[in-house]
Amino acid sequence: MQSVKIVDERRKFSLRRASAVSGILHSRRAQVGFGIITIFGVLALAAPIVAPFSPYMFPAPGRPYSPPGATFLLGTDNLGEDVLSEVIYGGRVSIMVGLIVAFLSTGFGTLVGIISGYYMKTIDEVLMRATDIVLILPPLPLMIILAAYLGPSIQTVILVLTVTAWPSVARVVRSQTLSLRERPFVDSARVAGASDFRIIGRVLFPNLASIIAANAVLMVTAAIVGEAALDFIGLGDISVVSWGTMLYWAQSYAIFNGAWWWVIAPGVCIVLVGLAFVLISVSIENIFNPRLRSV
């Protein structure tokens, strides 16, 4: 009895998931998004092959502050390093940090949200208190203080971003769980004797999948921008080339030396990649709520 009911839900879910996935794949919006991500992904992974120079070369390949030209397609920075190579290598770091943070914070936040929403009572109270404390604090000052104590490094950045990001995921997942658990199919699963684990994993989770997915994708954008912000202040590892650290150096040196390419390049990359993820997230949302369609 129990397995039949749950298998039924799974079958319904796979059908729904299949049509949703095809819906997403066919939306022009999402196609643009996936396209951009693929380009950047390939570039990032194949950096050593694709980038014309290494961004850490010593002595530097070009003259400092040379504008975009034949050899250096995006010009050079204050040390004479090739900006294009910096952007390609930097993408590895920035995108990787974005993905890791999104994965960790979504994972942890979802876990907290589901447990909190499903079991309610004391556990909910306790978890939500913890969430609230982090939520109410302004993120950047919190990140700064944590990072200042932990010392500048990529791990710090990842940790700090994750810590500030998971509460909002938890909140959203919790409220969805709360409303889902009252639905008849959860009750029937419970009556049929399904263990909590089964219910959460096989019944609740698939229904939460769309919200989790849409939010997780948005989270990547937020994390990439957040990483850039932290680097910009100097809390990241400034010896590592990432889009954020490029802006950190550029802030001090580029403006008064007229090196606009150094400022524009990493910013445009962040916008493009961020936009790509936003497009995908929006198309996921629009599949489930057609009235909102506009683009």
Partner: protein, 298 residues
Amino acid sequence: MPGNALYYFANPRIIATPGALDALKRRFGLDQPLWTQFVLYWVNLFSWPPNFGVSYLFYPASVFSVIMQYLPWTLFLVGTSTILTALIGILLGVWTGSRPGSKLDTVSVSISMILWTMPFFWLGIILLWVFAISLPWFPVSGASSSGVTANTPLEVHDIGDLLWHAFLPMVTLVTAAYAGYSLIMRNTMVNELSQDYVLLARAKGLRENAVLFGHAARNAMLPMITLIGLNLGYVVSGALLVEIVFSYPGVGLLTYRAVLAHDYPLLQGLFFIISLTVVFANYLADITYAFLDPRIKY
């Protein structure tokens, strides 16, 4: 607290005598057992004026006094940009929400999406570059031309000058923030416009504007206020970054310098006060919501 904080302040290579180092330790209370430090910290916190200790960077000024010097500028910046952002976001949201799928809507939503992903401090750098350096239309830094003598925005005599200095930072903040609000307002409007009371309002022969603003927007605004409250933390964070870019003398710039100098007392005090301000503003938002929604009793 990392002991090496003191190291930066009092470099043993400069201060010859060990006695001096001890004296400094005593001055900062770092020689006492840890738990005493902890208790003293909280006691000091709740006295008035709150004693956060003395800033390393601005020695011998107390952390509190330093923060109080910089805070008003940030409040000014954040306050005015939040109001502007809300206004623009709501208006745009009403406009696009009442005609979803139209050309205006598509364009607006696309622009909003791009702006939402753009790191606004990057936008700030570009604006600074274009409008302050390449074209000397706006000042490169500072809050006012007489920034040295004016301690708070209220003391500045020339409002024009004040606004002139604050213009670029505000434009940056508003551009970065309005997108989120307008998108959500749009979606809320779409929902409200499909409600029965809107149908009835139209049936009563009211003009379209009266229906949109007098009824639909009035209801759609309520979740917006909650949202503004929730987002205050992010707005403040944004302001911090913008201050760094424009060298605007607010707590953001102060934080930046404190980080660079490893001025831990200052950092802690800053964190505390900023958080407190945000919590308080959140509380204000909650009260405003209760005031505007007749169904809630506070």
